[in-house]
């Protein structure tokens, strides 16, 4: 713990981390340190588990072994690594919604070009398939967006700007939850005439339309450490046993749930009962959660923007607004949480760039808004004043709601649609592969993409060279990423050069 640099830009988060350390509770950072140094072969994308000959590895420094047992060289192994990562990213979201597997695009993308037996075209074919996988991810998001729109019609519950952890029971939903469970929990507490806050973090932002409160201190462990969580509900895609172990250590009741199915009624009642007991016990003890209140991510406000789409489009056309940056992502333990993100945001706002936040960044939007200086370009300030908006950032929720943003952007230029708008998609810090496949999805739409996390697949300089040239010719846009991770300042300049 001592050797790891500042962990988070959020002071509340750092305080919770220090307290956990004093209590001897290991967190994400201890587990990260125990893994150091990370496996150098895997870090370079040069390990291969594709068959039972291996697993194989290729020396990153050009010495033996230079080929896997099957004969694959480092170019092939590194490319396959990226390809599998993109596929994994698609599948990370697939369990939550009907997977568009019946579509031709999906079928085609998932038919992998077998590199063991193909000819030299495997590189081009694999790159093309990789972009298609990103498109499949985007189709999934589009489907999610339609579901969200359909189900949430008339269900917009206004959420308070912050919640007092002392004033009501707090249930943390990790990994998402079925909407019927959410409704069941809210109903149970309504009957008890007790306030209930359903807290969700990264990946579950779409649940806010069903009454969930989106708040994050940067990592689910920190939410548990506040001392204000009365029950933890782990969904199928939840982050696993370490969170359960921590909850049990802290005396927080844990419940597991899977898919949206029958049984959520009884589960909802069980969860409610235990959470109510825990809340009442907490009140009786006079327990004081820290921080005492959590700021919540705002309601989606692209509707507001839609009304002003014409004005925004006009400002963009005459270069009065520099462009649009879509920032999506979540924390990565290798970086100080949100340091890179906040630096990039600050720079972009000063240069009159419209900034949208999505994914885990949306969950931390209120904290990010407090951290960044409020200085922004005059034109952007003028637009915000017109929209009667007091904060400079626009949030759109989970990646599932990305299509809504794309819809808005496309409407800004009635002739050229999305291609007429100066846009860059930025992933300043990420740790899930689903963000990589989302990045490929955006690339396939012609939007330049920048990733601010060091990616583990630069083991082949030859592939690096071909990757960027081929990708540009395949999708006509740019992947702004490189083996050497640039500083936040350099990345901001890179974004601005493309706007």
């Amino acid at each position: 713990m001592e050797s790891v640099r500042r962990k988070s830009l959020f002071s509340a988060g750092n305080q919770l981390i220090s307290r956990a350390y004093e209590r001897g509770i290991p967190l994400l950072w201890e587990r990260y340190e125990a893994q150091l140094p990370l496996d150098g072969f895997a870090e370079s994308g040069l390990t291969c588990h594709d068959c039972l000959y291996g697993p194989c590895r290729i020396n990153p420094f050009g010495e033996e072994p230079l080929q896997g047992i099957c004969g694959a060289d480092r170019q092939q192994i590194a490319l396959q690594f990226i390809f599998r990562a993109a596929k994994k990213g698609v599948l990370e979201s697939a369990h939550q919604l009907p997977f568009p597997g019946s579509g031709d695009k999906a079928r085609e993308a998932l038919t992998l070009t077998n590199p063991h037996f193909s000819d030299k075209a495997y590189l081009q074919n694999s790159l093309t398939n990789m972009l298609k996988l990103g498109s499949v991810q985007y189709e999934l998001f589009e489907l999610a967006w339609k579901v969200i729109q359909r189900r949430s019609a008339g269900q917009n519950r206004p959420s308070p700007k912050s919640i007092d952890l002392r004033a009501g029971a707090n249930i943390f939903l990790e990994g998402g939850a079925s909407t019927s469970l959410v409704e069941s929990l809210l109903e149970s507490f309504r009957k008890e005439k007790t306030d209930l806050h359903l807290l969700v973090g990264e990946g579950s932002e779409y649940l806010r339309k069903w009454g969930a409160c989106v708040a994050s201190l940067g990592h689910p462990e920190l939410m548990l450490l506040t001392g204000g969580i009365d029950a933890l509900v782990m969904h199928g895609n939840g982050m696993g046993s370490y969170l359960v172990n921590l909850a049990e250590r802290l005396g927080i009741e844990v419940f597991r749930t899977g898919v949206e199915s029958a049984g959520t009624g009884s589960l909802g009642r069980s969860v409610s009962k235990k959470a109510l007991e825990a809340y009442r016990s907490r009140v009786k003890r006079g327990a004081d959660p820290f921080p005492p209140s959590l700021q919540l991510a705002g309601e989606e406000n692209t509707n507001q923007l839609q009304e002003k789409a014409k004005k925004v489009g006009a400002l963009l056309k005459v270069r009065k607004l520099r462009g649009v940056a879509i920032l999506i992502g979540d924390f990565n333990v290798k970086q100080t949480f949100f340091e890179r993100t906040s630096k990039i945001i600050q720079k972009l706002l000063k240069e009159d760039v419209l900034v949208f936040l999505g994914g885990g960044l949306f969950a931390c939007q209120p904290i990010l808004e407090n951290l960044i200086e409020s200085k922004m370009g005059k034109k952007l300030a003028g637009l915000l004043e017109e929209l009667n908006k007091s904060t400079p950032l626009f949030g759109f929720g989970s990646a599932c709601e990305l299509p809504g943003v794309i819809e808005f952007l496309s409407s800004l230029d009635s002739r050229k649609g999305l291609r007429g708008i100066r846009t860059v998609a930025v992933f300043p810090e990420v740790h899930r592969w689903s963000y990589l496949s989302a990045a490929f999805g955006l690339l396939s739409l012609g939007i330049p993409v920048q990733i601010g996390t060091r990616l583990p697949f630069w083991g082949s300089p030859e592939l690096t060279d071909v990757f960027f040239k081929e990708l540009k010719s395949t999708c006509g846009t740019e992947f702004l990423v490189a083996p050497s991770l640039a500083s936040a300042e350099e990345q901001s300049e890179e974004i601005l050069r493309r706007l």
């Binding site: 150091l36 140094p37 150098g40 072969f41 370079s44 990153p60 420094f61 083996p483 050497s484």
Partner: protein, 177 residues
């Protein structure tokens, strides 16, 4: 060059607990990164010219894992005798180190080393060899070995902890190959 005094038994040495070595080669990668690369990070190091070289090498032992081989700083080091330029010298602590400016790249030491612990660094026309990360508390390979196969301690302590019959067990392990 005449051999100098015997290696002090009080000096710490790098030992290998062969039953723990998985031949993952993390020691090689970390040595190259920390001792030979400018950037000291992957993947930047992969793009350096010349490529960083590790000072030790893991000799695979088939399915039994491997054994990292680094300079033994032999008591009676043949490389010291073979070096014509005085580049290889024994320090006061007993370590055999290479003075880069004097090395003429003749490869004599490389040829006489019974362990194959000396390697050519062709781009610089010199040799490269392990110096047990002289001056540091712990060599990088030892510090980063994920299984604890590499240990850095005095000989007496090693024999005490891992058994006086360790050399025999090691030979037995190798004989089975």
């Amino acid at each position: 060059m005449e051999n100098q005094s015997r290696v002090s038994r009080k000096t710490k040495e790098i030992f290998v607990r062969i039953d723990r070595c998985l031949a993952c080669r993390t020691c090689e990668i970390q040595c190259a990164l920390k001792r030979s690369s400018l950037s000291q990070r992957l993947p930047e190091a992969i793009y350096e010219k010349p490529l960083p070289l590790p000072r030790l090498q893991v000799q695979p032992l088939g399915e039994k894992g491997g054994i990292p081989i680094q300079c033994r700083h032999c008591q009676d080091a043949p490389c010291l005798d073979a070096c014509p330029s005085g580049a290889l010298q024994r320090e006061k602590d007993g370590l055999v180190v290479m003075r880069g400016e004097k090395c003429i790249g003749c490869w004599m030491c490389l040829m006489v080393c019974p362990f194959g612990a000396i390697k050519p660094f062709r781009q610089f026309k010199k040799i490269i060899k392990c110096d047990s990360c002289a001056g540091m508390d712990e060599p990088y390979c030892v510090a980063h070995c994920p299984t604890g196969a590499l240990v850095f301690m005095e000989r007496e302590q090693f024999l005490k902890e891992y058994g006086k019959d360790f050399p025999r067990r090691l030979l037995g392990h190798l004989e089975d190959l």
